[in-house]
Amino acid sequence: MSKVIERTIDATEHPISPYIRMDRMPHIWCPTCGIGTVVKCYATALDESGIDINKVSIVSGIGCTGRTAGYMNLDGFHTTHGRAVPFATGLKLGRPELLVTVFSGDGDLVGIGGNHFIHAARRNIDLLVILINNFIYGMTGGQNAPTTPITAKTSTMPFGNFERPFNIPHLAASCGASYVARYTSLHVRRMTKAFKEALSRKGFRFIEIVTPCSTLYARLNKLGTGLNLINYYEKSSEIRNGVDTRDIDISFQDKIICGKFIDEERPTFLDMMHDHYKRTLGDRYVPMSNEGGMIRE
């Protein structure tokens, strides 16, 4: 059983407020946008895991989801477009004791920053990557993203998209990620559980959350509001744990296969590095302390 959040009857503030910079609320996300739900679930996962939040940091790129780093009451980086993963890699290698989460959107992580994503997964860098997939570039004006399903309309593909989209869990899995899962923002309990589980694992952990974008994706495709998209997730998502990631492409308004697809332990980049240098250099190798090489408190 998870830890129950201790609550006193205080009707003025939300119990999750220690994790959110409440002075910056309301956030910029549109009405019926689902990003806030995912942030809430991530904060709950941190709370229930009992992790010291001084040892957690969050890194985001640019975009609607990229605002997350600034809204959470954690040490955060709001980095340049697509570069959340390299910033986070540097942070993790410099301060190995930190728990580093990358929280960004599909356009940022697998569009602009696709190459970084691939190599971080290949090296099994110790990062938790939460990717919010709304099928479109939101903040920049609804351009076609590498996740836009075929036939979906975007501002740069007004007659519908004809490019094949990424199946991101498969991309992460084939590059060697050690934990791969996908849920929609309706799956609040499963998502929180996956965050908690991934927080306790090592290596490159990837969780994709399909989330409604009411202002651009739903509007350009005449799909109604975020509530209509959530209703679509309710009808069309299917939980299939452990299924082959090759079979989980998402077509326009079609089935969304969710679940945990991969959960296996592999040595991380730092483990491999220490092992290798100990083997080749012997006593000459002095590993960096856990608190990092340069910064001492």
Binding site: P15, T32, G34, K40, L186
Partner: protein
């Protein structure tokens, strides 16, 4: 609680209870909480909040089972629930109990 038949030990069933709080001025009226509350505790208000959105109001306070779903799904951190003591059904509720034959199943 929702059951597909009337349980024989209905007078023994302990029902969790919650008190739901809405921070109305933070709400952007997405209706997620109203749509997915399993006990239909909430309804959209016809009044506007300070930002010009309709926020939810509590219409069946005694029905809330402290499931926390409204709190989890709200993208605005605008609604939360506090646990109260469990309760038993009163005689009147047991008499008027109607099982639900086609409950809405939502995988969360």
């Amino acid at each position: 609680m929702k059951f597909w038949r009337k349980p024989l030990d209905l007078d023994q069933v302990e029902i969790p209870r919650g008190e739901v709080h809405i921070i109305a001025d933070r709400c952007k009226g997405c209706e997620f909480c109203v749509e997915y509350c399993p006990k239909d505790v909430l309804e959209m208000s016809t009044e506007f909040n300070a930002k010009g959105y309709h926020s939810p109001i509590v219409v069946k306070p005694n029905e809330c089972v402290n499931c926390g779903l409204c709190e989890m799904i709200c993208p605005e951190f605008a609604i939360f629930c506090i646990q109260l003591e469990n309760r038993r059904l009163v005689d009147q509720e047991i008499e008027s109990f109607e099982p639900e034959t086609t409950p809405r199943m939502v995988a969360l």
